[in-house]
Symmetry: C3
Subunit: 137 residues, 3 copies
């Protein structure tokens, strides 16, 4: 069994951003030399998410709008009694999830034609990190 | 380390359907000969989900109703400016998630008594695919 | 490839409880002797969840409040026609997800500074179980 670990850093200009990281994940798989296995892509923060969906600006807008409706920014969350203002980002992270695991087959992401990996920043404008771990043979 | 990869095809009669694939996942594990490991079940489309829950028609109705409330079909999603009409299906996929990973112990799915794997189709009536990947020893 | 499997039992005092299991997951990784790999933490019930987020009582309150808004307890769910009263717990489990998979690097959970693993009980006051499976080398 082989494994390969890699970290991506982000520092978004806006509070919320959705960043396509598919190329980076493909690079990590290539570097690992792993042909058959799985690759885990996981946010290292509790105010960010990782998901697989479409590389299309309209749906990204729709995702953001739905998340903002389900967990609005600026609400008087109990969490804010600690002095934080990012309760919405924790809840958005929970709904989107902080991680995906993708099959690797023949040395490539075993994806359908439209699948792309996204990093979803919900509380940006500071350094944040994602871990990519490939495991297999 | 061994691995085994298998694809399931779906072409649902209705736009939204919930299909129990537990037997297919168990078959893939059996075929792999893997005793200890994990099995990944992942939709290859961005308008479908995979989840673990109950094989009971009432709760399937309730799941569908909740998803339809959170991401209704027919809303004027920004995504529809591309000509598509399936914005709701992308959002439902995001909420349900497109993948599960299940422990394999003693050659079997290490599940509790009521756990079943479901494929959730949110934009059917055409060919769609799921990948099953078993990994272990 | 090595693997190590362990079960945690819960029997909560309240119907809904959120329990930090990070220490137990770290113990399982240590016991496994695995340095590089992944650990899967998965509820064995369809009315419970596992997630990664903050060890802070305010955000736990906010999570519970959001889930109760999206899938309220006591609603006339179709599932209740079977005699059950826990439709909300199934839906909360679906939204939170029943499982997480965490990278293991250098024999430790490859987590950011604030990440903690939680067991989310949505229909407690009886014996429930979580499986932890570590896999790697």
């Amino acid at each position: 069994m082989k494994s390969h670990t890699k970290y991506l850093w982000f520092n978004t200009r806006k509070r919320r951003e959705y960043i396509n990281v598919t190329g980076e994940v493909e690079n990590a798989v290539r570097e690992s030399g792993i042909q058959e296995g799985m690759v885990l892509v996981s946010a290292m923060h509790i105010t960010a998410g990782v998901y697989v969906n479409d590389d299309e600006q309209g749906i990204i807008h729709d995702i953001d709008e739905m998340l903002e409706k389900l967990a609005p920014y600026g609400k008087a969350y109990r969490h804010h009694q600690t002095g934080e203002d990012n309760g919405d980002a924790h809840l958005k992270s929970l709904l989107v999830h902080h991680q995906v695991i993708i099959p690797v087959t023949g040395g490539r992401l075993d994806f359908g034609p439209w699948q792309q990996v996204y990093y979803a920043e919900f509380d940006g404008q500071r350094k944040k990190r994602v871990v990519i771990k490939v495991m297999g043979e």
